[in-house]
Structure formats: C-alpha cells, structure tokens
C-alpha cells in the first residue's frame, strides 16, 4: 500500500479547469448570441442589485421630489430644481432612470423568486409522481393537466384574486410582492413537474435505484440523493425560459393594475403609468421602461434557447 492518503474530494483548481474545459463552456465561447445575451443580462442584474448606489435620485422619497420638474424630457433640465435628468421625469417629477433601476430590481426579485418557488414545487411533485406511480401519480398529473387547460396568466390572476381576498386591506400593499410570487409560482409549476416526472420514471427503472433500495435506502433519500441530480439537466433550461415568462407575467399583472402597487412600482407598473402620457407627447415615460423589459426578457430568453441547444445531445 502506498502511504498517500486517498481522498474523495478533488481540488478546487481541478474543478475550475473542468468547468472551463467542459462541453457547455466550449459551446458558450462559440456562441456570440449567448455571450451578448449573458453580458446584457449580467449588466441588468448588477444595475438592479446596486440600484441604491447607481441611481442619481431616490424616486420614492416624496421629500426629494420636485413637482415643478414633472415631464422633463430626456437630457433636459428640471424647471424647478435645474438638475439634469438623463431619461427625463414622469408627471410627479420622478427620475425615469432611477425608477427603472428600482422597478427592475422588483421585477427581477419577483421573477427569480417565483421561478424558484415553481421549480421547488414542480420538481418535488414530479419526482414523487414519477417514482411512486399509481394513484399518487394520477392525482398529481391530473391536477397538472387541468391547470394546463387555462392560460397561466388567468391562473395567476385567479390565485392573486383569492389571496388578496384573504388578506386584510391594511396589509395588501405590503403583501403584494409575496402574493405575486405565490400566484406566478403556482401558475408555472406544471411544466417542471411534467418534465421531471418523465425523467424520474426512466431513471427509477435503472439498476442504481435498485442498488440503493437493496441496502435499505428510504424513498426520500432515493428521491433527493439519487434521482434528483439525474433529472436536473432539463430543469435548468425550463427555469431559464420560465424566468423570462415570470418577468413578463409579473409585468402584465402590474400593467393590469393588480400587481405591484404604484407606490412601489415594478417595470409593469411603470409601463402602465407611461401609457397614460403616450398620446400627450411624453413618450419617454413609456419607452424607457418598455425597452428595459424587452432587453431583460429577450436576454433571458436567448440564454435559455442557447442552454437548451447546448444541453441537447442530439444537436451536438
């Protein structure tokens, strides 16, 4: 026997090199679209994350607002304070650039949380349905099928309405963000569950699951330690594509006036506000939030498309 102590964990540097040399990294380095999309998405994420430091104004502090600065066009000087607004101001004199940064922050937070919630719920239910089978599988998948017959925006609206009804009026504005996450998450879990169920059914027939059952592993350990790592490939693709969808759903709900409150606007709320002034000539209030939403959703979508192709063995 050699005196070298065997270890089960490889070094960090060899792991990093492994990631850089992996097929997926190669595919990323050879896809200009994916790189541009990743750059745009990363820039938007950072801008949202550091909004309090980047934004020149605090748009939601009523004391710092100057009503005389209202409707200042882009690059114009406010009539009241004389300060310069890069993207102009809205009717109340709020800096459009700052509101976009804060609004994007909220949109991204809601989108990411909703997708995470939908993924956890859908993956868990899908794993159980695929592994246990029988009436448990039938019950979960019939609920999923019924939900699929409705448009997801309608499901979200329905859940949003019910949740609002259950919450006392004085807490509604505070709870709006969490209600949004719940309703968008519940409207999107089906696709995760269906995909994971299929893979779980295939994987649970394989002998490594038998080997785990043989040594007396409990179903919970088999589900999460053995099956879960083997069904996560498609989940990352769905999660990316559904992130774009969740952001758009949130914007739609907010645009319809049932989402984020005007006191704490998301991108959808901003677009909804801007729409009122489109025909009176103040185009910037609508245009810039819309362009930001477009850039955000498009970059996430393109990343998702690239990821789907990169992970699809048939296209390699």
């Amino acid at each position: 026997m050699s005196s070298v102590q065997p270890t089960l964990k490889p070094s960090i540097s060899s792991r990093l090199r492994g990631v850089w040399e992996s097929d997926i990294a190669w595919s990323f380095r050879h896809s200009p679209v994916a790189m541009i999309a990743a750059f745009v998405f990363l820039a938007l994420i950072l801008a949202a994350l550091f909004a309090p430091w980047i934004a020149p104004y605090t748009p939601f502090d009523p004391a710092s607002l100057n009503l005389m600065d209202g409707f200042t066009p882009p690059m114009g000087e406010g009539m009241g304070s004389g300060s310069v607004y890069w993207l102009g101001t809205d009717d109340q004199g709020r800096d459009v650039f700052s509101t976009i940064l804060y609004g994007m922050r909220l949109s991204l937070f809601i989108g990411l949380s909703a997708v995470a919630f939908a993924a956890v719920l859908g993956v868990t239910l899908g794993l159980i349905a695929g592994y246990v089978g029988g009436w448990v599988d039938a019950l979960i998948m019939r609920v999923a099928d019924i939900q699929l017959t409705f448009p997801s925006i309608m499901v979200a609206l329905l859940i949003f309405g019910i949740a609002r009804g259950l919450i006392p009026a004085e807490y509604r504005d505070q709870m709006a963000v969490w209600v949004l996450i719940l309703s968008i998450g519940l409207s999107e879990w089906v696709q995760f569950a269906r995909t994971v169920r299929g893979s779980a059914m295939v994987e649970s027939k394989k002998d490594y699951v038998q080997a785990a059952r043989l040594i007396g592993r409990k179903p919970r350990q088999i589900l999460f330690r053995h099956l879960l790592p083997n069904v996560m490939g498609p989940v990352s693709v769905i999660a990316t594509i559904y992130l774009a969808l969740a952001i758009i759903t949130e914007a739609t709900l907010s645009f319809l006036g049932v989402g984020a409150p005007p006191t704490r606007p998301s991108l959808g709320t901003l677009i909804s506000i801007g729409q009122d002034y489109l025909f009176s000539g103040e185009w910037w209030i609508l245009l810039f939030p819309s362009m930001t939403l477009l850039a955000l959703a498009l970059s996430v979508n393109l990343l998702g498309d690239w990821l789907r192709d990169a992970l699809n063995p048939k296209l390699q």
């Binding site: 065997p6 089960l8 040594i215």
Partner: protein, 335 residues
C-alpha cells in the same frame, strides 16, 4: 449434511398485467395474470455457486428480485441463513440486508452517473454504519478498489470515465463494500465484450475463494455457467425443469429442454456443422400451454404431457421434471 446458505421453497410470483379497469369494463376483457415464477424450490450450499439458466422471459430476473426481497412473493419463501428477508423491516432484517448483495447486469445503468466512484462504493458502508469515521471509510474504499483491480485514485472519478469492464468492477466493489456473504449476480457479464467477460469472471471466482462468498448466478450463456457453477437449475416459463451438478448436467442432460439448450449453443469446434434446433420460441406466459409447459416444442411429447403436469423425479442426485425422464437417462429414448 451440507451447510445451506439459501433455501428457496415453493417460490411463486404472479403479476397482474390487466389493462386499467375502465378499459376492461368497456372492452369486456378478462383479468390477465402472468405467472413469472411458479413453485420454484432450490437450495444453495455455503460457499458454492448456484446457476439459474433459461431463455429471456423464463423468470430468472424475477427470482433474483424475490431472493433479494426487492419483490414480495405471491407464495413460498426465501430463507437466507435461516431468516426471511421479505419480512417487514426490523433490526434483524437490516442486519440480514447487509449480508446480501447484488451485481447487476448493465454496468451502464447500475452506477449513478452523477456520483463519484468513491461515493458509490462508500454508500453501503455508510448506510450500515460499518466505518463511522470518514478517513477510515476512504481507506476502505481504496482497499476495495484495489481488491477489484482498480487504482485508489479512481475514487474521485465519475462512472462515465470508465469502460464497461471497469464499471462492472466498480459494481463488484460496491457489492463487496458491506462485507456480504451471499451475492446475487444477474447476468453480470452479458453486457461486456467477450475478452472482458473472462477477466470479470476470474475476478468473481478469486473473490469467492478469498472471501468464502456464496453466489446465485443468473445467466443465459451456457459456457459462462459451465465455468462458474457448482449446481445448475434450468428454468422454463417460470418452472425449474432440471437441477443437477454442473458435470452431470453438461455431460448427460436429462430434460429434453436442457438437451435442446445445449444443442443450440454455438460451439467452438462446431464450425460448418448444421444446427439442430426445434425452431420454437418460448410461449406466451399469460396463457401457458397445459400440462408440461414444454410439450409444444418437445419431440417426445405424448398425450400425457399435454394434460398432466409432470412431478419432480429424483434420479441419481438430480431433479428432473419430465414424464420421460427415466427413459431418457437410461438411454432407451433417442432425442
């Protein structure tokens, strides 16, 4: 009296393969019951190898799962060293589970592709609490890898970095990890190249003599069985038709089906020789033939074979399930 490790008695397993009840109701279909294993009894002496031979669909793998307690028998029981593995989970059955392991057929499906080899092999050690200390566990994994002819450094690799034969070695190392006494081998070499088969079989034989293991060896490959087995049981449509020692079975097969199997196997000295096969296939197990299951393919079949299920006859240390067994053994009937 030999020391019995595994005792299988009257083992029967039926599967309900009916369509869902609504379809049955609408199409007026009867229930469809498949008898995969039908009243199978055999015993395995400690330290020996018992081989089960049969065509696909004869119930070999079902017997393996029944013996391991992965399936519950419809009737009959399996005793491993005197205790029942399929009994409800108790401390005793946990202790027994450690002593029983399996080597799987497909080395590409039997190792979790997302787990490192070291984690795969140390899982049984961890579950049974054999080495509470992580360092000791890693040393044991290294020892096991060395035992099956792999390097200790292979523990950090993933299964896809190995060839089929090496993967099967990893599967053997995992099976040995809990220090078992009885290992069920379900066609352990049928997915491997011929050149690698011999290496894996040799490894299994060396480990058997080194660790005193008892094997239940399931295969359809007669040359592999001849190399590995001490006792051989021949399965046809879920029933054992002949049980004998390896030498007796291969030199003087007594059941017409065994004889057909031996004749059908390609032989290295048989080039250019015309094969004599009966051309038949294994019948539908849901509606098996009456009487002796083999009678539609048997050259010796009489009216009696069509009606009456033959009883087990004990002839010179072997068990044969055939009406004509005595005549075949004495040579008075020509096959």
């Amino acid at each position: 009296m030999t020391d019995i490790m595994v005792e299988v008695s009257g083992l029967t397993r039926r599967f309900d393969v009916s369509s869902p009840w609504l379809n049955r109701l609408l199409q007026r279909e009867p229930r469809r019951i498949l008898t995969a294993v039908d009243d199978v009894s055999f015993s395995i002496a400690r330290g020996s190898t018992y081989a089960l031979v049969g065509e696909s669909g004869s119930g070999k793998s079902t017997i393996a799962k029944l013996v391991l307690g992965l399936l519950k028998p419809t009737a009959g029981q399996v005793l491993v060293d005197g205790s029942d593995l399929s009994a409800t989970a108790t401390a005793a059955s946990d202790a027994l589970r450690r002593r029983v392991q399996m080597i799987f057929q497909d080395p590409y499906a039997s190792l979790n592709p997302r787990w490192r080899v070291g984690d795969i092999i140390s899982e049984p050690i961890e579950v049974f609490g054999l080495e509470p200390d992580a360092g000791a566990r890693a040393r044991r994994v290294a020892e096991l890898l060395d035992q099956v002819g792999l390097a200790a450094s292979d523990a950090t690799k993933f299964p896809h970095q190995f060839s089929g034969g090496q993967r099967q070695r990893i599967g053997i190392a995992r099976a040995l990890a809990s220090r078992p006494e009885f290992i069920v081998c379900d066609e352990p070499t049928s997915a491997l190249d011929v050149s690698v088969q011999a290496q894996v079989l040799n490894l299994m034989r060396d480990l058997q003599s080194e660790l005193g293991l008892t094997y239940l060896f399931i295969s359809h490959d007669l040359s592999v069985v001849r190399y590995m087995a001490d006792q051989v049981g021949v399965l046809y449509l879920g029933r054992l038709v002949e049980t004998a020692t390896r030498d007796a079975l291969f030199e003087a097969p007594c059941h017409p089906y065994t004889r057909m199997l031996l004749d059908a196997a390609p032989r290295i000295d048989g080039f250019g020789r015309e094969h004599q096969t009966d051309g038949g296939e294994i019948p539908d197990p849901i509606n098996p033939p009456s009487g002796c299951h083999y009678h539609p393919r048997c050259a010796l079949a009489t009216e009696r074979c069509r009606v009456e299920v033959p009883a087990v006859s004990n002839l010179e240390g072997r068990q044969v399930v055939c009406h004509e067994a005595t005549q075949i053994l004495s040579g008075s009937v020509d096959l």
